[in-house]
């Protein structure tokens, strides 16, 4: 398993390297400017290692990444690593809250749907899921803003905090909710929460669609098993049979599903962050894209890929830990 993870990581590096090579932007020109003399140009080219054969450039790239260097961002003039460290907590906060929504609502909905298979609660959950699979996330975000911010005026404006509350709490973890709570700034805490709820709910809807669908199908399989009949025959209440016995066994495969949906939220967060002006990894990626800031784009892509692989690995390990049969 370690070998396959390493190989996937290697493939990831190869893809980002090759993408970086075919870009129409000349990295030398963007470093020295288009009025540089031929000599300066050649010198810069050598300094960047671009005169070397392609495979050697790739080896250098891999070594560089392993040392934790992703180059400099042209847009922010910081190193890409520093930039990503700065923006990542915002995405983490958003995706975690969204997953929390998805699990807290999706699992019970899936259970209720399975228990009432074929009846209206089941159809309702199925419809909600179908809508989730069919709706563009950026559009749902805009509709949420229109309704809750524009018309009802109960949600906060886009962004992580009100303008007046920016830079009040010190950045410790980068998670504003946590930082504010630790520093006893409860006004900031509730302002941050107010800003977080709508984007997290929008994003969470997509993990709800996936989690409820999977919970339903896992539950249907469990409810057919003989131990369920045994539990009923023993005289256990139906609630206990469903929520304790059947759901308990569903929790194991659900771990994988929740991990996968968490990883998928990274993708949804690119568009959600753009809509809600949420200063996270997704917004960083898209604004670098539009500025043709290739170091930043490839760095962010690589980081997302690594997180994706990491989450998958983690869910595999957890699965083995929880389910003795998987050994």
């Amino acid at each position: 398993m370690v070998g396959s993870v390493l190989l996937t990581f290697f493939g990831l590096l190869l893809i980002t390297f090759l993408i970086g090579r075919v870009v129409p932007v000349d990295p030398v020109l963007s470093a020295v400017g288009d009025r540089a003399s031929h000599d300066t140009y050649e010198q810069a080219r050598r300094e960047l290692g671009l005169h070397l054969p392609l495979w050697e450039q790739f080896v250098n790239y891999v070594l560089q990444v392993l040392r934790g260097e992703l180059g400099k961002s042209v847009l922010t003039a910081n190193t890409v690593v520093d930039d990503i460290k700065r923006v990542f907590p915002a995405t983490l906060e958003l995706a975690t809250t969204a997953t929390f929504f998805g699990v807290a609502l999706g699992v019970p909905m899936g259970v209720v749907a399975a228990v009432n298979q074929g009846r209206w609660p089941d159809q309702l959950v199925r419809l909600l899921g179908l809508f989730g699979y069919s709706m563009p996330v950026f559009w749902l975000g805009l509709m949420g803003l229109l309704l809750f911010y524009g018309i009802l005026d109960i949600a906060a404006a886009p962004g992580r905090l009100d303008f007046a509350n920016l830079d009040v709490v010190e950045t410790w973890t980068g998670l504003i909710l946590l930082d504010a709570a630790l520093q006893n700034e409860w006004e900031i805490f509730f302002d941050a929460l107010h800003h977080l709820i709508l984007p997290a709910a929008v994003l969470g809807y997509f993990s709800l669609a996936y989690i409820s669908r999977m919970t339903r199908s896992f539950m249907l399989e469990q409810l057919r098993q003989e131990y369920v009949t045994t539990a009923r025959v023993k005289g256990l209440s139906e609630a206990r049979v469903v929520w304790r016995h059947a759901l308990g066994n569903v929790m194991v495969p659900l771990i994988t599903v929740i991990a996968l949906s968490y990883a998928n939220l990274l993708e949804g967060s690119v568009l959600t962050e753009t809509v809600f002006a949420w200063p996270g990894l997704g917004l960083y990626l898209t604004s670098s894209l539009l500025a043709a800031d290739m170091n930043a784009v490839l760095g962010a892509t690589l980081v997302v890929g690594v997180i994706f692989i990491g989450i998958n690995l983690l869910s595999d390990l957890l699965y083995k830990l929880v389910d003795p049969r998987a050994k």
């Binding site: 396959s4 190989l7 996937t8 493939g11 990831l12 893809i15 980002t16 993408i19 970086g20 075919v22 870009v23 129409p24 179908l130 809508f131 699979y133 069919s134 709706m135 563009p136 996330v137 950026f138 559009w139 805009l142 509709m143 803003l145 229109l146 911010y149 524009g150 990883a263 998928n264 990274l266 993708e267 690119v270 568009l271 753009t274 809509v275 990626l285 898209t286 894209l289 539009l290 043709a292 290739m294 784009v297 490839l298 892509t301 997302v304 890929g305 994706f308 692989i309 998958n312």
Partner: protein, 298 residues
């Protein structure tokens, strides 16, 4: 009519084509018995018709600007209202159906055969071919799709062709996985052994025997996937990396309407609704097709 129906439901087919006709008819009946599938089918058919007939049924030009007619709300004159340049949103939606259909069709005809070929070759030959091909597939699967497409488009430059290429590059791996799994069960069946004993070559067995048997689960998967393709394409368009103006792409329309969201809600809302409806159509149709063609997996 009754003669035809009797012929189509006969228990004993009289010829190969008769058997095919019976099977097609029975599948159709199963499909048509589910109202949600029929709705999905109608949506997809409507997309195709609107896309083809857009120049004849669109009431106005999708690109002609008329600044005296800006932001007119939906009504009798402009059914879906007008946008910030006074362009008729209904006409832009109808022409946008062409862009969507173009992307969907191109992705389907490029990604599906590539995935099918990779999966069947890996599954049939096994050994090194299997290890290498599936490893490559896994690497592509390890990336979130939209992010990989974004990185590709950033390298290739924005535009509808590059968007199609980027989406197709990210769409084939799941097909390869499915085709490989199917091939593994088909490979060990007796009739393949018989064909092999008759001296058929590997390529002949794959193309003539394995690929046709994989096709029904492939059709289901491709149909279900088209919803995701539409959403990815719309996402690229929303970020300004998809089809470029003056083409009217739905995602880009939402993006430009976004600036006026709170004052003129329809400019962003209606194109997004179009994306939603078409993508829902493919999902409903795909679900229905799966129940009919591939009952095991539902």
């Amino acid at each position: 009519m009754t003669v035809l129906r009797a012929w189509l439901t006969a228990d004993t087919p009289s010829s190969r084509n008769h058997a095919r006709a019976i099977q097609a008819y029975l599948s159709w009946r199963a499909l048509a018995s589910n109202p949600l599938t029929v709705i999905g089918l109608l949506i997809v058919v409507a997309l195709v018709i609107f896309a083809i007939l857009a120049p004849w049924i669109a009431p106005r030009s999708p690109i002609a600007q008329d600044l005296t007619q800006r932001f007119i709300s939906p009504g009798a004159e402009y059914w879906f209202g007008t946008d910030e340049f006074g362009r008729d949103i209904l006409s832009r939606i109808l022409y946008g159906a062409r862009v969507t259909l173009y992307i969907v069709v191109l992705v389907a005809v490029t990604a599906a055969p590539v995935g099918l070929l990779v999966g069947t070759v890996a599954g049939y030959f096994g050994g090194w071919a299997d290890v290498v091909l599936m490893r490559v597939t896994d690497i592509f699967l390890a990336f979130p799709r939209l992010i990989l497409a974004l990185a590709f488009v950033s390298a290739l430059g924005p535009g509808i062709e590059n968007a199609v290429l980027a989406i197709a590059l990210t769409a084939w791996p799941p097909y390869a996985r499915i085709a490989r799994a199917e091939t593994l069960t088909i490979r060990s069946s007796d009739f393949i052994a018989a064909v092999r004993l008759q001296g058929a070559s590997g390529s002949r067995i794959i193309l003539g025997h394995v690929v046709p048997l994989c096709s029904s689960s492939m059709i289901v998967r491709v149909t279900l996937d088209m919803a995701g393709v539409i959403l990815t394409a719309a996402g690229l368009g929303f970020l300004g990396l998809g089809a470029q103006p003056p083409l009217s792409e739905w995602g880009a329309m939402v993006s430009s309407g976004r600036r006026y969201l709170l004052d003129f809600w329809w400019v962003a809302t209606i194109p997004g609704l179009a994306i939603f409806v078409v993508s829902l159509g493919f999902n409903l149709l795909g679900d229905g097709l799966r129940d009919v063609l591939d009952p095991k997996s539902s």
